[in-house]
């Protein structure tokens, strides 16, 4: 597209190819430098991006990454993220079209966090780090410009959330008492990876006074209990971000991630009679579940908030000071989106 005459920032906005913020004009030179940094051919097809199934070649990804403000050496992370969201298990079709609010959250593991200065510490969900700000933004621009997920047109989210501008963090592996998210999913500690979750906005959990793993996990459970709404059940992949201080409390009691998951999973059950539509809220168990019980209004069978303990994904991240955790709800009902990991190459 040739844009003559006027301010390039205005021209690009007028073309409808931005996220509303100014973009870096994708000149041939800038895009060529970005493509070169990947060591791949410009025409190599990385994925077809739902819902329009536009072709995300290395060059198309590079154009969007340049516009987002990426440095050329960020490109391999953006490419891995595009691969991950286009995996069928992620269901980008649903993520982009739903009236619910998910945005793809990128969680980076491995040494590349240091090479690219990806923030894993204080303020990691917020502004101030070019890598976090622009890698997540590049993925968003690919979803809109190549995938066709134009907000209010094809992407019909009622609210969306600010993570649809950019949503990229690193795990603070150095402050974690446990294996990283990537290692738990079969990668080596030295591998560079992205993990993609169709995620709601983070909910901060304040707990300054718990000194034991069960006390702290009881607080976390109460926040997990209200994901979507307090009677939603059978939910899937959801991210729990423990601050280093909170992680130290849990690990200090000798608990591993599996112990946390088991505790939370078991605690997050409610009897059928509390989940009937019309009891404490009009929503509740869907009809196909209610039909399994002869007298739901008096049935005490426990129903789980999460389908399996393994759906509770745990990372350690955030500033050294602060007794907070964050719950990042997934958009992960049965047969919906799942966490997808990819190696960065």
């Amino acid at each position: 597209m040739a844009l003559a005459g006027t301010d390039p920032i205005e021209e690009l906005y007028a073309r409808g190819v931005t996220d509303g913020l100014p973009v870096v004009p994708p000149t041939r030179e800038r895009v060529a430098r970005a493509v070169e940094a990947t060591g791949r051919a410009a025409a190599e097809l990385i994925a077809e991006v739902p819902p329009n199934y536009g072709r995300a070649t290395v060059e198309k990804i590079a154009i969007n990454a340049v516009m987002a403000g990426c440095r050329p050496d960020y490109l391999p992370v953006v490419i891995a993220a595009v691969e991950a969201v286009c995996d069928d298990a992620f269901d980008l079709h649903g993520v982009s079209a739903t009236t619910n609010a998910p945005a793809p959250l990128i969680v980076v593991n491995g040494p590349i966090r240091h090479r690219l200065d990806i923030n894993c510490g204080a303020g990691l969900f917020g502004p101030g780090w070019r890598a976090n700000a622009t890698i997540g933004r590049a993925l968003r621009l690919v979803c809109v410009n190549v995938g066709g997920a134009r907000p209010g047109v094809v992407s019909m989210s009622t609210f969306a959330h600010p993570g649809r501008y950019t949503y990229c963090i690193g795990e603070r592996e150095e402050a974690s008492p446990w294996d990283s998210l990537a290692v738990e999913h079969g990668f080596a500690a030295g591998d560079d990876t992205v993990a993609l979750l169709a995620a709601d906005a983070p909910i901060t959990v304040y707990d300054q006074r718990s000194r034991t793993a069960p006390d702290l996990c009881a607080t976390l459970a109460a926040t997990l209990a209200v994901i979507e709404h307090h009677k939603m059940t059978h939910w899937g992949d959801t991210l729990l971000v423990l601050s280093p201080e909170h992680a130290a409390i849990v690990a200090g009691d000798g608990w591993g991630k599996a112990d946390v998951r088991r505790f939370l999973f078991e605690r997050l059950h409610r009897p059928v009679h509390e989940l009937v539509p019309g009891v404490n809220g009009g929503d509740g168990l869907p009809e196909h579940v209610l039909r399994k019980f002869a007298d739901p209004a008096h049935d005490a069978t426990p129903i789980p908030k999460f389908r399996k303990p393994e759906h509770l994904k745990i990372v350690v991240a955030g500033g050294s000071a602060g007794r907070f955790s964050a719950v990042v709800p997934g958009w992960t009902f049965s047969k919906g989106s799942n966490l997808v990991l990819r190696r960065i190459r």
Partner: protein, 73 residues
Amino acid sequence: MHDGVFFEDHGIPTATVISSEFVRAAAAQAQALGAGDYKTVVVAHPIQPLTREEVRALADKAFDDIVARLTRR
């Protein structure tokens, strides 16, 4: 929309029933898939809070449109 466009392209007349809030999204998606003239059958939004009887009433209202969409009528 992907399913409807697929079936039409494979020779099966298709009536896709959607709620009124999604008319624009459906048209944009059909356009992007190369089926700019794809027509849907529209019922009133919202659906989710309705009772079974209320949803059945929507079917009664939409039935003529569905038949018209599938035939030369």
